[in-house]
Symmetry: C2
Subunit: 462 residues, 2 copies
């Protein structure tokens, strides 16, 4: 177990950090409180000090102070984490990377870019506007690229463009002892040594602090179309997704929303989708005819499975209303119940089991004493629940815990994973043994080897 | 440094292995010689004994014997390695996995399969014939899936379908102490813990022995077309590749062959391609119209860059002649010079630097006293040289070493990697420091943590 940073050594670390960074190191209560939590139900836990380094060298200096005084370190990005990753449960130093917000390099010729960890995905896409390229990984929140890398984020477009796992080419990482390493290269593929890039992608700050990221970019599609389709039943919607994937139709987005989610979105975003299970689609291609071919094929599949016809969002402005409506699902769910807090969870299963998993989960959920919204990146076999809880109610929290555990264990029994994209943090730690068995010991061996003092985001993940 | 297995303990390990496996453990000289090398120029090094385990449990028992007597272990698949990975340079136990050749499970609904490590890629694709699916990763040789996983192999189709990195979902691995772990799940994505799957993919047997692999499969494309195009200059050919990738045209294969390679292929495969730099293309889609759109777009790019027009291989039998001709390039090169041996090397660079890298490399090569063939998975920025050497000539080996080093250092200076797909083995070890810097120490830390006795393929990679 990590040491709770003892008072005197923490005080010395704080003094050293203030000497290093001046006003960019602060133990003001309001700042520490802001860095005590993400967007989740987990109990906030403030750090002892928050640092705002501006360079990899400064992060390295912070890590050396952490090593000198054996004080824990937690990396912090946009604060949109859903599983308590950024809560400083053993106190110590929160490293806020938002001062590192430079886009270091864009190479349109090579379809790649290097950005600092604090750059957000919308900031990056704005900077790419004139290049004909985009960075499609899209977890909903305007997260930092550093946070997305550290949690192996994905989102609505992963079915076509992959997750952060597929889209990170290389990293700069500050190790526990303050050493700086560079992983990967700008080559598209390499067989030269262990894949450290992929080891750090998804490591949630427990092995090192990521300070810059080299990303793959993608050509903006020449042709795009989007549509929504309501279904008679959620099984029909999910079966449409399964058939689409099995046929290899390269949909760019295929998102599932249950009727509760549609209802909450309509209220929150002033939209008027039919209150029924729905799929939201997007098709991308280098060719208009190919987009038409894809959408015709998917429409036929939907109609055979209880789809009530496609409503097209052909104009850019219509599409630009559609996806924000989808992305506000979390806030729309919260608005269902004033004063409520969201417990958001996700699982991912092999696609053939998705309908069964969702139907059984919805049956479980039917008697819950709070609203539950279901949204899913269904093309990946991944779906989310939002439990809209009264945070003061122990009974509701216990019920959410029970429902979450039932869903996770069902997903694992189907060959799936306890989290498709939110990460482990605090919230999913209890399930790693069930998912990984003896492989969890190998993860712990790697952790001890790279962070022998257990200072890097201690008490999380492994 | 690894221990060279001392005589007495090796003798005891041999006795224990024979007691365990009977005739499936042999120290017959002919068998040990067969397991002393792959298909490369590196000095053969026989193991002390070769084992043919049939199950993961037997591999685990072999590893426990290796641990008891501190004897090295080298995993062996089809023996098609190009960088000396399988040479038993410190003696010990060669584990030949060809007895583990079962296709454990195919799930057409989920587009995945689990196979034992000794299954070859052609065997797998034959077994998939009735499913409408295929496993597209295609390194040329009929390698085992275990070997392809261990070397992070790719090949002609990686530009569209990715490498083994993108196509392995999970693994069973026997660790140095004989413990068995399962990495990954059958879910398409996961954010649950360190990505051990990717850590073992490309680890070349230095961290554990892979015994089964869960793979992504892909729908066989509804529409396929293939073509060749000769060019006035190799620059024109490479510039066509670069433009194709930059425009995001989803070619399935885009292979570069220089005039020396075309000449050797014509002689060996009785083909009659114009003796000029050439591109070999393949287009895949779910739609015939999309294949037509892609090929028209690429033809236009080629014509603008000195392409002399496309020769189409529209019928299946024509395509089935085209790609074997490409895949025999290594044997065709060897046939240029009876008694010669091939030194095969590869690098990979950002696509914008590919033309410059190839032209400079060919300028270097022009004065070489032996034939050199260039073939490339150009869409990935990856190309290969085959030095066709007199193995008895120290001068030729020295010249090959000098040329190889110049090419690798040029690729690294361009932001590339010392090997795109062949792996490190013995042949590229000297370049890892230049490529990875301090990250190499992190790789070594991981290696020591997971294989503290340095028994897993010692003397390789890190």
């Amino acid at each position: 177990m990590p040491l709770r940073a003892a008072g005197p050594s923490t005080d010395r670390a704080i003094a050293a950090l203030k000497a290093l960074l001046g006003a960019r190191a602060t133990d003001a209560a309001a700042v520490c409180d802001h860095h005590s939590h993400g967007e989740s139900y987990h109990t906030p836990a403030p750090p002892d000090i928050v640092c705002f380094p501006a360079t990899t060298e400064e992060v390295s200096a912070v890590l050396r102070i952490s090593a000198d005084w054996r004080v824990p370190v937690v990396a912090f990005g946009a604060g949109t984490s859903l599983e308590g990753h950024v809560n400083a449960i053993h106190g110590g130093i929160s490293i806020d990377l938002r001062e590192m917000h430079r886009i270091v390099r864009v190479s349109a010729e090579d379809l790649d870019a290097t950005v600092e960890a604090g750059v957000t995905r919308l900031q990056l896409n704005k900077a790419l506007a004139s290049t004909g390229l985009h960075f499609p990984v899209d977890p909903g929140a305007d997260a930092t690229i550093g946070g997305m890398t550290a949690t192996r984020a994905s989102g609505t477009t992963a079915v076509r463009y992959g997750t952060m796992r597929e889209n990170v080419l290389g990293l700069t990482v500050v190790m526990a002892d303050g050493g700086v390493i560079h992983t990967g290269t700008r080559a598209r593929k390499s067989a030269a040594g262990y894949d450290l890039t992929r080891l750090f992608v998804g490591s949630e700050g427990t092995l090192g602090v990521i300070t810059d990221i080299t990303l793959r970019l993608h050509p903006r599609p020449e042709a795009v179309s989007a549509a929504t389709c309501a279904f008679e039943s959620i099984e029909g919607a999910v079966e449409t997704v399964i058939a689409t994937i099995q046929l290899g139709i390269p949909v760019a987005r295929i998102e599932l929303l249950d009727e509760a989610t549609i209802d909450s979105v309509n209220r929150y975003s002033k939209t008027s989708y039919p209150v029924a299970p729905a799929l939201f689609f997007e098709f991308h291609s280098d060719s208009q005819r190919h987009v038409a071919d894809q959408s015709e094929a998917v429409q036929a599949l939907a109609l055979e499975r209880g789809g009530r016809g496609f409503a097209w969002a052909t104009h850019l402005e219509d599409r630009e209303r559609l996806w924000p409506a989808r992305h506000t699902a979390l806030y729309a769910a919260l608005a269902l119940r004033p004063g409520a807090q969201a417990w958001t969870t996700d699982v991912c299963v092999p696609i053939s089991r998705l309908a069964e998993c969702i139907v059984a989960t919805k049956t479980d959920n039917a008697g819950a004493p709070f609203p539950i919204c279901l949204v899913g990146h269904a093309g990946d076999g991944n779906f989310h629940l939002i439990y809209v809880l009264d945070p003061a109610s122990r009974a509701e929290l216990d019920e959410a815990r029970r429902l979450n555990e039932r869903m996770v264990m069902r997903a694992l029994a189907m060959g799936g994973t306890c989290t498709g994209e939110h990460g482990v943090g605090i919230g999913k730690m209890a399930f790693l043994e069930a998912e990984h068995g003896a492989a969890l010991d190998v993860m712990r061996t790697v952790k001890r080897a790279l962070d022998p003092d257990n200072r890097m985001n201690p008490g999380k993940m492994v």
